[in-house]
Amino acid sequence: TQLLEQSPQFLSIQEGENLTVYCNSSSVFSSLQWYRQEPGEGPVLLVTVVTGGEVKKLKRLTFQFGDARKDSSLHITAAQPGDTGLYLCAGLLMKTSYDKVIFGPGTSLSVIP
């Protein structure tokens, strides 16, 4: 059974602080996605990383895919209340389709004004 683990499970920080959340697996993925989900809403795709070692920046968010394509991190600089939400990572295994995407349990982030 392939599993994606995310840490920490919960994170509460003050506005302006920096944070990093992690996504880890023993499986190798062809690509990995990060989503943000707000309460009562569906997940919104933030980024897809494909190449081992790849780093992508989206404004204050920096995403990194591990060299071995088994793990990823999301770093947020100067967090804002609008960053509050559930951050999900999702990995697509080699030679499979989207129905085989494995979702992590998520990191619930709360940014306090």
Partner: protein, 111 residues
Amino acid sequence: EAGVTQSPTHLIKTRGQQATLRCSPISGHTSVYWYQQALGLGLQFLLWYDEGEERNRGNFPPRFSGRQFPNYSSELNVNALELEDSALYLCASSHTGLQGYFGPGTRLTVL
């Protein structure tokens, strides 16, 4: 471009009843995926439809079923509702099969 839409937003049923949830994919997307997100649990894959056919189903009982229409919209039916079926049901659509775009979900409450 309109995103994935789902209806209804909320649905309240009692045990034993049937629920029907609907999803309209992004224009041009032929695949629709259904997920269940129960409180405290991650997204659990339910069903995948593509070009009108069921391509795969997750580890759920047969009372979870659905279909995809010629316009690629989809319906999820849950028969003989149980209390533990209470969850957010999410639909995602895809064109490439490598990336999904999610709708806002239907919150199903079973009393």
